[in-house]
C-alpha cells in the first residue's frame, strides 16, 4: 500500500515534468533538452524567493512558475528561433538546446554553488494522512492533484481553445499555418512559455517534496521525462500523465523487489518493448505524424 503511494507520488513528478516536455516535443516535434535546466533554475528561483526574501510559498509559487515560463521563451528565442526554417532545424535545435542547458547549468553552479540546498523548514505545512499502515503527506497529495489538474487543463487548452487550435495547426504544417495568417513564431513562443512554466512547477515541487535543490537535479528526471512521453504516446496529455504514474509505480516496485541497480534497466527495458510492440505508446494517435 505504501509502495503504491510512493509510486503514484514519484509518477506525478514525472508526469508534471513530461507534460511540459511533450507540449513542445510531442506536439511541435521540437526536442528541447534545456527543459531540465529550466526545471532546476525554477526551483532555485523559488528557493531564493522563500529562503532569502521571505516571500510566502503561495506567492513564490506563481512567481517562480512565471519566471520559468519567461525563461522558456528565452530558450526558444536563443536556441531555436535563429535556426528555424533551416532544413536540419530539428537536429541543430536539439544540439543548441543542449548547449544552452549546459550554459544555464554552469550559471546555476556559479550563482548557487555545488551544495545541495533545501527550502526552509515550515515552508509548507507538515501534515500527514494515515491510511492504515501507510502514510501520505499533504504535499504529496497536492502534487498528485496538481499533476492531474495540469493534464486536464492542457488537454482542454489543446482541444478547445484558440491558442490550442493554432498550436495544432502549426504542428500539422507550419507553412500552411503561416499562409493562413497564424503567427507561427508567436505560437511556438507561447508553447514554450506554457511548457517551461509547467517544467518549472515540476522543479519547484520536486525540490519541495525531496527537500533537495541542486544544480544537477534536472539530470535525474530528464531521460525519465522522455521515456514518459514515448510511453504515453507522442503529444498525448492523458498519455503522458498515465505513463508518468506507470513509470513511477514500475520503478518503486523494481527497487523494492529487485534492488536499485535494476531501476533504470527495467524502466527503459519496458520503454524499449513499448517502442517495438506498440510504437504509438499507451494513448498516442493511431499513426505517427511526419516530422
Amino acid at each position: 500500500m505504501q509502495q503504491v503511494i510512493n509510486g503514484l507520488f514519484l509518477g506525478s513528478i514525472y508526469a508534471l515534468f513530461a507534460l511540459g516536455y511533450t507540449l513542445v516535443f510531442g506536439v511541435l516535434d521540437i526536442l528541447n533538452l534545456a527543459h531540465q535546466a529550466v526545471f532546476m533554475l525554477c526551483a532555485f528561483t523559488a528557493l531564493v524567493l522563500v529562503g532569502n526574501l521571505h516571500v510566502h510559498m503561495l506567492l513564490a509559487f506563481p512567481l517562480a512558475v512565471l519566471a520559468g515560463g519567461l525563461l522558456g521563451m528565452v530558450v526558444d528565442r536563443v536556441a531555436f528561433r535563429p535556426l528555424r526554417g533551416r532544413s536540419d532545424s530539428n537536429i541543430s535545435g536539439l544540439i543548441s538546446s543542449i548547449a544552452l542547458a549546459t550554459i544555464l547549468e554552469a550559471i546555476g553552479l556559479q550563482v548557487f554553488g555545488p551544495d545541495v540546498e533545501r527550502f526552509p523548514f515550515g515552508t509548507v505545512p507538515d501534515r500527514y494522512l494515515k491510511l492504515g499502515d501507510a502514510v501520505i503527506s499533504e504535499l504529496q497529495l497536492v502534487i498528485i492533484a496538481i499533476a492531474l489538474a495540469m493534464m486536464a487543463a492542457l488537454t482542454f487548452l489543446l482541444k478547445r481553445t484558440r491558442l490550442g487550435r493554432r498550436i495544432r495547426a502549426v504542428a500539422e504544417n507550419p507553412l500552411a499555418a503561416r499562409i493562413l495568417g497564424v503567427n507561427v513564431d508567436g505560437v511556438i513562443a507561447a508553447s514554450f512559455f506554457l511548457s517551461s512554466a509547467l517544467g518549472g512547477a515540476a522543479g519547484l515541487l520536486f525540490g519541495l517534496a525531496f527537500n533537495n535543490v541542486s544544480t544537477d537535479m534536472g539530470r535525474a528526471v530528464e531521460l525519465k521525462g522522455l521515456a514518459v512521453i514515448v510511453l504515453g504516446g507522442m503529444g498525448s496529455m492523458p498519455g503522458a500523465a498515465l505513463a508518468g504514474f506507470a513509470l513511477g509505480l514500475l520503478e518503486v516496485f523494481t527497487v523494492a523487489k529487485l534492488g536499485s541497480s535494476y531501476r533504470d534497466a527495467v524502466a527503459f527495458g519496458v520503454l524499449f518493448l513499448v517502442l517495438v510492440l506498440r510504437p504509438r505508446g499507451l494513448l498516442g494517435p493511431a499513426a505517427l505524424r511526419e516530422a
Binding site: Y128, V135, F210, N212, A220, F253
Partner: protein
C-alpha cells in the same frame, strides 16, 4: 646519471642542513586547506597545530629544541598540495610534514615526501587504502572508517540493545560502498543478524521505495552509508514515512550540512567519530580549555591536528631528542600509549593510528557524544 648525482648531492646538503639546524629549531611543515572546498576543516587544523607547538615549546618536553610550525595553504587542490610539499622539503627543510587535509590531495602530495624521505603525519585523511600504502615515511593519526565503525557500533549497541539490523547504502560510489562493507562485516562480527540490505544510486533523490521495503521487515536498527547530500534526504523521508527506527550513519553524515538539511529529522541520528569530545580525560579537557581560551571551539579536526604535533614531538623524544627526518620517522614506531585528546595513542604496524572511537548523537541540532 649526472642528474641523479646532483639529486644525491642536494639530498646530502639538505640532510646536513637539517642536522645543523636541529641543534636549535625543528621545523614542522603543515599543509592544510585554508581555502577551497575543504576550507572549513583547515582553520581548525591550523589552530590545533599552533596550540600544540606553543605548548610543547613552553613545557620544555624537548630540552634544547624549539619546534617551529610552517603553515601553508594546500588550496584543496592536488597541484597546490604538491607545490607546498616541495617548498617544505627543499626551501624550509622541515623535519616532518603534517597534512594535507584531504585524502585526494594526499595521494598526490605524499609520494613527493616519500621520495625525499621526509616523514608525513596525516591528521585528517580517512581513505582506508592508498595513504599509508604510499611508503614507509607516511604515517597517519586519523582513524579510517574501517576503524571507527566497529567501535561505534559496539558503543551504540551497549546503549540501545538492538537485536537485528538493516542496511541502506549507495552502491555506485567507492566511498559509500566501502562504508557498507565495513558496516556489514562489523554487524556480522558482532553477531547482529541483517534482515535486509537495500541500495540506491548517487543521483537518486527519492528513497521512499527502499525505506518502505526496509520498514516492512521491522529491524531494530538501520545503518546508512551515504554521502552528505543524500544523508539528509534519506533520514527526512524515513521519518516522513512514520518510521522512527534508530539510524546510524557512516562518515558521510559527519557534517554540519547533514544537520542543516535534515533539520528536526536529524535528531537522534548516530554517527561514529574519532574524537570523544566529552571525554573527561585531563589531556582532553586541558586541550579544549586551551583552545577555547584562544577563542576556538575545537572540533575533531583540531584535536587530530593537535595530536599530530604531539606524536612528532614524542617521536623526537623517543629518538633521544634528535630532530632529523629519519629520527622522526624512526621515533614514530616507538610511540606507544601516548596521552592525547583522542585517548591513548599508538601506531599499528600498518603505520595507521590506533585509539578508541566514540559515538555522536544529534541533539538540539548539534552533535553530542552519546554517553
Amino acid at each position: 646519471m649526472r642528474f641523479s648525482l646532483r639529486c644525491l648531492a642536494s639530498a646530502v646538503a639538505a640532510a646536513l642542513a637539517v642536522t645543523a639546524a636541529a641543534a636549535e629549531t625543528v621545523k614542522i611543515g603543515a599543509a592544510f586547506s585554508l581555502t577551497g572546498n575543504a576550507a572549513v576543516y583547515g582553520g581548525q587544523q591550523k589552530a590545533g597545530v599552533q596550540l600544540a607547538v606553543d605548548e610543547i615549546n613552553k613545557s620544555g618536553k624537548l630540552p634544547g629544541l624549539t619546534l617551529e610550525a610552517v603553515i601553508e595553504d594546500d588550496a584543496t587542490s592536488k597541484e597546490q598540495g604538491i607545490a607546498v610539499f616541495q617548498r617544505f622539503i627543499n626551501r624550509d627543510k622541515v623535519s616532518a610534514i603534517i597534512g594535507p587535509t584531504l585524502s585526494t590531495t594526499a595521494t598526490a602530495a605524499d609520494p613527493v615526501a616519500q621520495a625525499a624521505k621526509t616523514p608525513v603525519v596525516a591528521v585528517s585523511n580517512t581513505a582506508p587504502k592508498g595513504i599509508t600504502d604510499i611508503g614507509d615515511y607516511i604515517w597517519r593519526v586519523s582513524l579510517t572508517e574501517a576503524q571507527v565503525v566497529p567501535s561505534a557500533l559496539k558503543a551504540a549497541r551497549a546503549k540501545l540493545g538492538f537485536k537485528n539490523a538493516a542496511i541502506l547504502y549507495g552502491n555506485d560510489d567507492v566511498f559509500t560502498k566501502g562504508g557498507f562493507d565495513v558496516m556489514k562485516s562489523s554487524l556480522e562480527q558482532a553477531g547482529v543478524p541483517i534482515l535486509e540490505i537495500q541500495t540506491f544510486a548517487t543521483k537518486d533523490r527519492d528513497f521512499n521505495a527502499q525505506l518502505t521495503s526496509l520498514k516492512a521487515k521491522n529491524p531494530d536498527f538501520l545503518m546508512v552509508s551515504a554521502l552528505a547530500e543524500q544523508a539528509a534526504g534519506i533520514v527526512t523521508q524515513a521519518r516522513q514515512l512514520g518510521w522512527n527506527v534508530p539510524i546510524m550513519g557512516g562518515n558521510g553524515f559527519n557534517s554540519p550540512a547533514f544537520i542543516k538539511n535534515a533539520g528536526p529529522a536529524a535528531e537522534g541520528v548516530l554517527v561514529g567519530t574519532a574524537w570523544n569530545k566529552a571525554s573527561s580525560d585531563p589531556v582532553n579537557q586541558a586541550f579544549i580549555a586551551a583552545m577555547k581560551a584562544r577563542g576556538n571551539d575545537p572540533d575533531q579536526f583540531a584535536a587530530q591536528a593537535y595530536t599530530g604535533v604531539l606524536v612528532i614531538a614524542d617521536a623526537i623524544k623517543q629518538s633521544g631528542g634528535k630532530g632529523s627526518r629519519d629520527d622522526v620517522k624512526n621515533g614514530f614506531s616507538k610511540v606507544k600509549d601516548l596521552p592525547t585528546p583522542l585517548g591513548k595513542f599508538s601506531f599499528l604496524p600498518s603505520r595507521d593510528g590506533d585509539h578508541s572511537a566514540a559515538v555522536q548523537v544529534v541533539k538540539g541540532g548539534k552533535f553530542e557524544i552519546l554517553q
